[in-house]
């Protein structure tokens, strides 16, 4: 892969629709995909990658490499919040630092899905177990962050237990959707998948276009909310994903992942959550301010990863792995 291919990858169809959404807001257009369709699209995309991932797992089986990657995924999600929390403590309250730590330790399903579309366009295969890795990476960061918060905030009057937080994280609709679809894909295998493929598989990229169009609109709106954020927040929202991506590529190299798996793993490390984490924080750390952590992940880290990150990470993966 040479640098000109790198440039071409910015011109991925779904990502262009993301741009279009941002431009629509910039020119003050009233364009929007009316709710609840974007909500539904996000469920559809999880369903789509879940059932396909499950079907592929039913063919490949859970080899040794697979469990290695899954353990690595859980480890990364658990560890990232530690180092970020201590950086964040310099500028933010304990609650906000913990919520941000959870945000950057957890993952963004939409970034992951965009990376899938990217790999498909470039005909690079990846394993169905990476979908399981994504599902596994959403919660550990939340748990670590809540533990840190409870350790440092001795006079916490909040009565939500850690158990409650863990239960919540695993019953969140999006998690149930992806894990449920993965399991069903595993059960019905290739034959069962064939019959739903025209909807569950073939629609994937087209629906992703309209979904990213909406995400572009939402991200651009949140960008306006971000005015007050200051340089530290913006730098953090750019440098942390880059650092985590670096660690991701390094680990992928050490653990001999294939190129497709390596990119997916890197993207997971680099991405930040804006769906699962805000839902969990409301209950677990209610004094944290979603007006801080959601715009950072949604309006900076997410567009950065989708537009620049994925093609660059892929370029590095192609060079080093």
């Amino acid at each position: 892969m040479n640098p000109s291919d790198l440039f071409l990858n910015f011109l991925n169809t779904p990502v262009l629709f993301f741009f279009m959404g941002m431009i629509a807001i910039a020119i003050r257009s009233n364009l929007e995909i009316p709710q609840p369709l974007p909500k539904f699209f996000s469920l559809y995309l999880l369903f789509s990658i879940g059932i396909k991932g499950g079907m592929e797992l039913s063919k490949s089986g859970f080899g040794e490499g697979v469990s290695g990657i899954l353990i690595l995924a859980v480890a990364m999600s658990s560890v990232i919040p530690f180092y970020t929390f201590f950086i964040l403590r310099k500028k933010y309250s304990i609650s906000d630092a913990a919520a941000l730590a959870a945000t950057y330790g957890s993952v963004s399903a939409v970034t992951f899905i965009t990376a899938i579309a990217f790999l498909q366009s470039n005909h690079i295969p990846f394993g169905g177990h990476m979908v399981a890795a994504m599902a596994l990476m959403e919660s550990p960061a939340i748990i670590t962050a809540v533990v840190l918060y409870k350790l440092y905030n001795k006079d916490d009057s909040n009565k939500t237990t850690l158990f409650h937080t863990i239960k919540d994280a695993f019953t969140e609709g999006s998690i149930v959707m992806i894990i449920g679809s993965l399991v069903i894909g595993l059960i019905v295998g290739e034959k069962g998948y064939e019959s739903v493929k025209p909807f569950a598989g073939d629609m994937f990229k087209g629906i992703l276009c309209l979904f990213l169009l909406d995400m572009g609109i939402v991200a651009a709106r949140r960008l306006k909310d971000l005015k007050a954020a200051g340089a530290f927040s913006i730098l953090f929202a750019l440098l942390v994903p880059i650092t985590n991506a670096g660690i991701g590529i390094l680990l992928a190299k050490i653990f001999h992942m294939g190129q497709g798996d390596a990119l997916m793993f890197t993207v997971l490390c680099a991405s930040a959550s804006y769906i699962a984490v805000p839902a969990a924080m409301r209950v677990a750390i209610p004094h944290s301010n979603p007006g801080i952590y959601v715009p950072m992940s949604l309006a900076i880290t997410f567009p950065f990863n989708v537009i620049i990150g994925i093609p660059v990470y892929n370029y590095l993966v192609q060079m080093f792995i």
């Binding site: 996000s42 939402v218 709106r221 769906i275 805000p278 839902a279 409301r282 209610p286 959601v294």
Partner: protein, 97 residues
């Protein structure tokens, strides 16, 4: 006729069930719910355009007797110390059911 009050509670959609439990505990016989409302308050704008239900509110309307209303309002006061939302109480002239 007894003195009747209309209580309107607006809170985040994900917490509205707690409010419903609260009023039901006091024996309130009915309520109406507007599931999706947006709004703005101390905690910023609720656009209602998110992918989860964190940035959207629900609005609960219930009419009940003044004595019951007073007790409910006491509890909602405590509830609103922690949770985003607002509660209005108005006089109702009469109710048909």
């Amino acid at each position: 006729m007894k003195n009747l009050q209309k209580i309107e509670v607006i809170t985040e959609k994900r917490s509205i069930d707690i409010v419903i439990e609260m009023i039901e505990k006091h024996g309130v016989t009915g309520y109406t719910l507007i599931p999706n409302v947006t709004g703005k308050g101390k905690r910023g704008i609720k656009h209602g355009d998110d992918l989860n239900d964190v940035f959207i509110n629900s609005m609960l309307i219930t009419v009940c007797e003044e004595t019951v209303a007073e007790e409910i309002v006491k509890e909602i006061k405590v509830f609103l110390q922690d949770v985003s939302g607002v509660c209005f109480v108005t006089d109702v002239k009469y109710v048909l059911h």
